[in-house]
Symmetry: C2
Subunit: 96 residues, 2 copies
């Protein structure tokens, strides 16, 4: 996976507090981006859902959830072998 | 929210191990149900995604993710007042 803006308005949700991701998303939307993709894996999935819900209910009320995709990704373990981890992609877009 | 079968093939995902929910879902699908809804709130959201992914990749390969809805629910706090919590509903159905 590539990082941040280069990948076309993708915000990767990790283990920071929800509000730091909310802020990152609002910044992107205010810069004129009409579309935003939140990506998360494993336990960060619920944080991605929180982020999307807080954005559209509290801060950017003209934003809508366009699409939600779930998938399984393979991760290389440091001790060798691979592990499966669930992932989510939430696409948010602004109403025109 | 109502519980279990009465609500039309709804499985509520909580804090048990993922495999117990996978088993509950497989049982429902094998009883002839063509549709199944997984519901989860808060931190159990990532477990619901895990459950759906394990079912369709490992056990019921003719199952597809039909719809994913995220929302915000209000919960009554025991010390009074309400708290907002994110929720997810994943609809799984079998290919005909």
């Amino acid at each position: 996976m590539s990082k941040g803006k280069a990948a076309g308005n993708v915000v990767f949700i990790g283990s920071k507090p929800v509000m730091s991701y909310v802020l990152a998303c609002i910044t992107q939307l205010n810069e004129g981006n009409q579309k935003l993709i939140l990506k998360a894996r494993g336990r960060a999935i619920s944080r991605a859902v929180d982020t999307a819900e807080i954005i559209r209910h509290r801060f950017v009320t003209d934003a809508v959830i366009k699409e939600i995709i779930i998938s399984t990704e393979q991760i290389e373990r440091s001790e060798g072998g691979t592990a499966n981890v669930s992932a989510i992609e939430i696409t948010i877009s602004k109403k025109k």
